[in-house]
């Protein structure tokens, strides 16, 4: 037996491993084989752009973000653009962080409490369907339409003016559907026995929801929050008409002093600029932004995987 196996040439063994031997059996086997190969090629085509983008952005922007020369590395993130935009992108970096923090302060409580009300206080039926449907619609609204709405409602109608408040409120609107739906899923996965035990001990509905159910669903909630933050961090369109742009960090909450730059907006502004060195800075900003977004996404992924493993 072993002698027979040994007598097989390595080429034949390779054919056997990749299924070519089966493919030669009949026409149906051949078409099966070809179908598999084509699908494999399709997957390669699908993931190829990811690497092409990574190569382009890293190739040009690497020295900006990781280099050690003047104006590179940490200095790139910690100096203001200054005259002729020769400096770093501190305005954009700080602006993005501030926008995200303010948006989270508004968006997270709204969506987590909303999800808690839907799951804990309403029966399945009309109200729940309406709220879920509207949050799905909100998730599908084009970002520029949200930007136009933010401009018409927050900037113009409420007289907030462009700036950090209007910008972060618009971003908060974008965060709501993602967090709401993930929190709902997480709350649904909490076993009913936990709630029953808490209620049987005489706890009110509120303290059951607050300190038992939400506590148990916490990892799921965090996953949703991180996904939403990652999504919102890279949005340009809603900020164009609501946050303005600025070369320094905002100094006040209203008025022209509150205009704020963000990393995506800076990429757009720099890439549309004909000056050569700004292209490099745009790549550096894009690389930094991509690393932030992918890091947030990766953490969300890890947490959610841990959670599913614990539940299953």
């Amino acid at each position: 037996m072993t002698a027979k196996l040994d007598s097989e040439s390595s080429l034949q063994r390779l054919y056997g491993r990749i299924g070519l031997r089966d493919a030669a059996k009949s026409r149906r086997h051949l078409s099966d084989y070809l179908f598999r190969i084509i699908l494999g090629i399709l997957v390669v085509i699908i993931v190829l752009p990811f690497f092409l983008i990574l190569i382009q952005v890293t190739g040009v922007g690497f020295s900006q973000v990781f280099g050690t020369g003047p104006g590179q590395g940490l200095e790139f993130l910690s100096t203001f653009p200054g005259a002729g935009l020769m400096g770093g992108i501190r305005n954009a970096f700080v602006g993005t962080v501030e926008l995200i923090i303010l948006a989270s302060i508004v968006g997270i409580p709204l969506s987590v409490c909303g999800a808690a009300y839907i799951i804990e206080y309403t029966r399945p039926g009309r109200i729940r369907e309406i709220i879920e449907f509207t949050s799905d619609v909100l998730a599908g609204i084009p970002s520029i339409v949200l930007g136009a709405f933010g401009f018409a409602f927050l900037v113009d109608f409420l007289h907030l003016g462009m700036g950090i408040v209007a910008g972060s409120l618009t971003l908060a609107f974008m965060m709501i559907p993602t967090i709401l739906r993930t929190t709902e899923e997480a709350l649904r996965a909490v076993p009913m026995s936990l709630r029953e035990a808490s209620l049987a001990l005489g706890a009110t509905k509120w303290s059951t929801t607050w300190s038992v159910t939400l506590r148990a669903a916490f990892p799921g909630v965090i996953t949703g929050v991180l996904l939403a933050v990652g999504r919102v961090m890279g949005e340009t369109a809603p900020l164009i008409f609501t946050a303005g742009n600025s070369l320094i960090v905002p100094t006040e909450l209203t008025g022209p002093g509150s205009w704020v730059a963000s990393m995506p907006y800076t990429i757009w502004a720099y890439i549309s600029d004909p000056r050569e060195y700004l292209q490099v800075k745009a790549h550096g900003t894009a690389l930094a932004l991509m690393m932030m977004v992918l890091a947030v996404d990766l953490i969300a992924n890890l947490i959610s995987r841990k959670v599913t493993r614990r539940i299953v």
Binding site: V43, I46, V47, F50, V57, C113, F149, I240, N301
Partner: protein, 335 residues
């Protein structure tokens, strides 16, 4: 007749009064309940109301968005200069008070058509591979890469498309078709949109394919079908509603995509006659001109009309995706 009416009125009155007293009674009762409750009980009652407000927040925002976009776009629809005819009128020239938005709708639809035409077959093929044929060791990394692709900001896609894809179209694809182009074209827009849609299509379709019960596959294989026949004719058709939802959702994303398309389509006010002509899409015109237009009532209103149409389109797509899923629930029961 009159008597009957009167008696009906009296009855109505009585019913109303009864209702009022019961409502009032419930209200007062809840107040007195609240007074009598201890501290945890009070917190419970306040908390219930406090949670109701965030729950209706998303609904409220949607209503506000609809109301404001409608309120802002009414002037152009009622003015004699514009009117509802702007939807089919092809000339956009705010200096001459011509606000036809047909070219943007056509541009958006063409870009979306190219993108969806490319992304749907590719994406469904990829999803089939991931859920049916992929070696278990490769599945997790591929899924992770595709999720990362979904997370890349659209401005980064735009940057790459502007610097790599546009020259590629100009130097490599346009000469192939024996045509000249500066690269900023309908085709570049469609290509980058297709790349951006792929993660959505793949992830949602793969999820739908994986909900198909294993017994379907086993039955088909036991009847002698090959694996590819099983995946095409049994698994794919069983998961059709979910795949349909994926396609519709990706349509919605394609129409609403802003930054990447803005940077590569050339933004020229003409209806494209070939793949290599520049075009102008609905999202781009809002992004480019709202900043200048907001002091001119009609111009601004026309831009908000574009946004309103975009909003209606995206609501329709979401609704259709929901219908697909409901169809799946009804006929399959496992999606």
């Amino acid at each position: 007749m009159v008597e009957q009416n009167e008696s009906a009125n009296i009855k109505d009155d009585e019913a109303n009064r009864a209702l009022m007293t019961s409502v009032r009674g419930a209200f007062f009762k809840s107040i007195s309940d609240f007074r009598n409750a201890d501290r945890p009980g009070k917190i419970d009652r306040i908390g219930r109301i406090g949670l109701l407000v965030p729950a209706v927040a998303s609904t409220l925002i949607i209503v506000l968005i609809l109301a404001f976009l409608w309120y802002e776009s009414v002037p152009i629809f009622v003015s004699p200069i514009g009117g509802p005819g702007i939807i089919v009128s092809p000339t956009w020239d705010p200096n001459r008070d011509l606000y036809g938005i047909a070219i943007f709708i056509v541009g958006s639809l063409m870009c979306t058509g190219i993108a969806v035409g490319l992304a749907v077959p590719l994406g469904i093929g990829g999803a089939l591979f991931l859920s049916e044929f992929c070696p278990i060791r490769l599945r997790q990394p591929i899924k992770m890469i595709i999720e990362m692709m979904a997370a890349i900001p659209s401005i980064v896609y735009g940057l790459w498309a502007y610097l790599v894809l546009v020259p590629f179209v100009k130097n490599n694809i346009a000469p192939l078709a024996q045509s000249t182009s500066n690269g900023l074209s309908l085709l570049a827009g469609g290509l980058i949109l297709a790349i951006m849609l792929l993660p959505t299509v793949v992830t949602i379709s793969a999820d739908a394919l994986q909900t198909v019960p294993m017994s379907f596959r086993e039955a088909s294989l036991a009847l002698g079908a090959t694996q590819s026949e099983t995946s095409r004719k049994v698994v794919l058709s069983a998961a059709l509603p979910g795949v349909g939802a994926a396609v519709v959702l990706s349509l919605g994303r394609a129409v609403g995509e802003t930054m990447a398309v803005l940077m590569v389509t050339g933004n020229s006010l003409q209806i494209p006659y070939s793949l290599f002509d520049p075009t102008y899409v609905m999202t781009s015109i809002i992004t480019n001109q709202l900043g200048y237009a907001f002091v001119f009532p009609l111009w601004r209103s026309a831009l908000f009309a574009v946004a309103f149409i975009l909003l209606i389109m995206s609501v329709c797509f979401t609704l259709t995706a929901k219908l697909f899923i409901r169809w799946g629930m009804k006929t399959r029961g496992y999606i």
